[in-house]
């Protein structure tokens, strides 16, 4: 089995916003050969199939944003190779690839994983019932409608009310599909500002909160969903299409196959503020770290990681190590999730599993308080919550894990803040 062997300076896996920004940051600074591997036929990542507006600083459409980021990366001198999949590792910094031109084994001095995130499908959510056609995720729906102009159905139920739900509504509208209902298990929908847009798009869509999909109905094609409401009541909504939205999970296969340690909360690679994973020379950026944040955030991480990769290549980077950062319930996860005192972090991303009204976030290490921050708004499940990162300087590199908790107004533990 012959593989063509090559070496480059940096391999970036994934040409989404994060990977392209990292490649650009590296190539702009003259870091030798920077090669981006993208398994899809077209580079750009998820924004390629998000035809709605809201990407980047100017809120352009996804495809516009994707085109710009690809152009910027190419303009910097990075190579972007599409149709090439990184299938596994042949060494700590060597990847095996498959593409129409054959098999390769590419060695590099550093590897950046920017493999993104996907939505959990119906099966992973353990939704019971039959296995009919017409059940999809937003990602598949968008590609069907925007990239392939396929017929989708006539009447849909959209499950989940994370911000991505509005992307589903927008694609359904484009496909001429009536939306019978938007359902969520949460006591209220979380579309936030996006919802305003969604309401406009999908005018008159009933939002059913506190409703769980108890069963999918139909043989051959889906014919309806059975919903269980908070009071135990069961109702049926007829439809020929069901879109499961949100519930993102990092696409961490390549990381795991390379033995890169994961963070138990995010299920993405554990990284420090310099986006360094537990494997020397392997970095990770974008939604593979924290499914899922806006494209601009992913791109910003890519740019920051480029600096860190350069530091690693010229040996000027800070020492590795540092304690893990853990969160306590109702917080679900934090990223980055390793604290290195010499590595400044400008912000951490967190998630909560419950709505919190103006919470106070408290950071401690071995009982010592490092930071306390008041969040002047409601924090909702599946929505971004940011924590400032200056406190990492005062972390004891040899101490125990750093803990982030939700404190009461006076710094007590978990007060009246939850609802």
């Amino acid at each position: 089995m012959t593989r063509r062997q090559r070496s480059v300076d940096v391999i970036v896996v994934g040409a989404g916003p994060a990977g392209l920004a990292a490649a650009r940051g590296l190539a702009d600074h003259g870091v030798g050969v920077v090669e981006v591997l993208e398994r899809e036929a077209v580079a750009g990542g998820v924004p390629r199939h998000c035809h709605h507006r809201g990407f980047g600083r100017w809120g352009v459409t996804g495809p516009q944003y994707a085109a710009r980021t690809v152009e910027a990366a190419l303009g910097s001198g990075a190579r972007v190779r599409t149709g090439v999949t990184a299938t596994g590792w042949a060494g700590p910094l060597t990847l095996d690839t498959t593409g129409p031109h054959g098999l390769e084994r590419i060695a590099a001095r550093a590897v950046v994983l920017a493999t993104g995130a996907r939505e959990r499908p119906r099966s992973a959510r353990l939704v019971p019932g039959t296995r009919p056609a017409g059940v999809l995720t937003t990602g598949e729906l968008q590609q069907a409608v925007h990239l392939h102009a396929q017929r989708v159905g006539t009447r849909a139920v959209v499950v989940g009310a994370e911000p991505v739900g509005y992307a589903a509504l927008s694609a359904l509208r484009r496909a001429g599909v009536t939306v019978a209902a938007l359902t969520t298990e949460e006591p209220r929908h979380q579309l936030g500002r996006a919802w305003a847009a969604a309401a406009r798009l999908g005018h008159g869509v009933p939002v059913l909160t506190g409703a769980t999909v108890a069963e999918l109905l139909g043989r051959g094609r889906v014919s309806g969903v059975r919903l269980r409401h908070r009071d135990g009541r069961l109702t049926t909504v007829d439809c020929d299409t069901v879109v499961f939205t949100g519930d993102f999970v990092p696409d961490h296969e390549l990381a795991r196959r390379g033995g890169v340690a994961l963070d138990p909360g995010t299920r993405g690679p554990a990284v420090d503020g310099a986006f360094r994973t537990g494997a020397d020379g392997v970095f990770a950026v974008g939604n593979v770290l924290h499914a899922v944040e806006p494209a601009l955030w992913a791109a910003r991480e890519g740019a920051l990681a480029a600096d860190a990769v350069r530091g690693f290549l010229d040996g000027s980077g800070p020492a590795r190590g540092g304690p893990a950062i853990e969160v306590a319930a109702p917080l679900r996860w934090v990223a980055p999730n390793r604290a290195v005192p010499q590595v400044p972090v400008d912000a951490f991303v967190l998630r909560t599993s419950q709505a919190l009204t103006r919470p106070v976030l408290v950071v401690t290490q071995d009982g010592r308080r490092l930071h306390r921050q008041y969040v002047p708004r409601r924090a909702l499940p599946n929505r971004t919550l940011h924590l400032a990162g200056r406190w990492t300087r005062s972390v004891d590199a040899t101490g125990g894990p750093v803990r982030i908790t939700v404190g009461g107004p006076r710094g007590g533990n978990l007060g009246a803040a939850t609802e």
Partner: protein, 480 residues
């Protein structure tokens, strides 16, 4: 080669078409195996009739995919014999046809005293079934061989001969070889009534009438219904026994090395944890007696129960992503054995009650049925079978090189280097090949069973629309 899926079976112009020598009803793993076996007699004009739009679309697509040794069968039963013979035949056939099989072996793990006490009886039963390789091992050895087992393991029965196999490729290989040998496969053809005319069977189907000299009933869950149609009475009733299963992602594969079978006791039969040839891990099945032969849905209670049991067996499994949930229906009857009966005077064979071992036994069932037919109807002349041209099926198994890993194949055709389904690493070349194959898929589900496309952890988030585009555009690659 004839595969039809629409239009009348007998075009109007052709007033009296040549009757079939044999019609086989049901293209599951059993019906296709029988058709393939009979096709070794090239002079026979054979029809294989299937109600669904694809072969293997009933119970044969939804099982636990184990090639059993038959160590725990009822000694002396027909099932015990056919499983034992079938295992040998299918293992050999798989090796020559490219059906993935992995001889991983099984451990029946005992978690309590009742289960531990049951092991010697099972060992003795294995002996009576002619299986001598089993042995009882202690807790330490069990744990050493399966380091991820949950706490509380007391010991195990080691059955090294149990294997995992691809059920989809098996059915498809039989069907492909049958069709290439001249069997006419008619899909979307439900047999509705059967009458007899001049000694022949006259079948009324959803696609019109058809005449056959000999009839084989391999209708799975409907074998009892067909029996009544033909004979006016039947000697068994099928009670579907549902088995729900959860499939875990390939990243869970390293957690388990053997098929972990439950130890059956008076208190019930537990669930198994088994690797699949595709690199996944299965958890299941449940066992629920129902009366609806179409109840292939999963239930919240069923899935919850599986997770509870799975957590005990292999705690780390529950941290992995689930790629699929499904349910299959076993054709259980009131009898404790297969119901294979030849009604010589009616030139009719019923192959009923093929419950939970039909995949393994399929080739032996087919040989047995061919023997019964030869005995019942000397006029068919089943004296000298010829070997059909071998088939070579596309490999879906992880233990063998897949096209995306083969530089040689990609060099001949770059389509094998173009990955379309990323989770399962299925290439454009494989999808094309399936779409223009002898027995092409009728749906995306059928395409998945032939290629694995869309069958992975993302269930189409990445590739669903692209795979559908290839499926809908299949005309590009050949006749529809």
């Amino acid at each position: 080669m004839t595969v039809t899926s629409k239009g009348p079976l007998c075009p109007e112009r052709q007033m009296s078409p040549r009757p079939y020598d044999v019609a086989v009803v049901g293209a599951g793993v059993v019906g296709t195996a029988i058709a393939r076996e009979l096709a070794r007699h090239p002079h026979l004009h054979i029809a294989l009739l299937e109600a669904s739009a694809d072969v293997g679309d009933g119970t044969s697509k939804a099982n636990t995919a184990i090639l059993h040794t038959g160590f725990d069968a009822v000694p002396g039963s027909l099932e015990a014999r056919l499983v034992r013979e079938g295992q040998r035949l299918l293992a050999a056939y798989a090796a020559e046809s490219g059906i993935p099989v992995e001889p991983v072996g099984a451990l029946l793990v005992a978690w309590d005293d009742a289960q531990l006490d049951a092991l010697p009886g099972l060992l003795e039963k294995a002996g009576r079934n002619g299986y001598d390789a089993a042995r009882i091992i202690g807790a330490d050895e069990t744990r050493a061989r399966e380091p991820h087992l949950g706490p509380g393991v007391l010991g195990a029965l080691d059955v090294p001969g149990e294997s995992i196999i691809c059920p989809w490729t098996t059915t498809l290989a039989y069907a492909t070889q049958a069709v290439r040998s001249g069997v006419e496969l008619h899909l979307n053809t439900r047999v509705e009534t059967v009458s007899s005319e001049g000694g022949d069977h006259l079948l009324a189907t959803s696609r019109g009438a058809l005449r056959a000299r000999f009839l084989v009933n391999a209708a799975g869950l409907n074998a009892d219904v067909l029996d009544r149609l033909v004979l006016g009475a039947g000697d068994f009733t099928v009670t579907p026994r549902r088995g729900q299963l959860i499939v875990f992602d390939e990243l869970a594969r390293d957690l388990v090395r053997h098929i972990l079978l439950p130890v059956p006791t008076a208190l019930g039969k537990g669930v198994l944890v088994a690797p699949t040839v595709y690199g996944n891990v299965l958890l299941g099945p449940t066992a629920e007696d129902l009366d609806d032969k179409e109840a292939t849905g999963t239930t919240a209670d069923g899935l919850d129960g599986l997770l509870t049991k799975g957590r005990r067996i292999l705690p780390a499994l529950l941290d992995e992503e689930v790629t699929a949930v499904y349910a299959g229906l076993r054709a259980a009857t009131e009898h404790d054995d297969y119901r294979i009966r030849c009604h010589k005077e009616r030139r009719y064979v019923t192959v009923g009650g093929i419950r939970s071992t039909g995949l393994t036994a399929s080739m032996a069932i087919a040989a047995h049925v061919a023997g019964l037919i030869a005995e019942a109807d000397a006029g068919l002349d089943l004296e000298e079978p010829v070997e059909p041209a071998p088939v070579h099926m596309p490999n879906l198994g992880e233990a063998f090189p897949r096209p995306y890993q083969r530089a040689d194949l990609i060099a001949t055709d770059p389509a094998y280097g173009t990955i379309v389904c990323h989770c399962e690493r299925v290439t454009r070349g494989e999808i094309r090949d399936a779409l223009i194959s002898t027995v092409p898929p009728a749906s995306l589900e059928g395409l998945r069973r032939r290629t694995r496309a869309r069958g992975g952890r993302c269930q189409g988030f990445y590739c669903g629309a692209a795979v559908r585009a290839l499926h809908e555009g299949r005309g590009e690659w050949g006749p529809e």
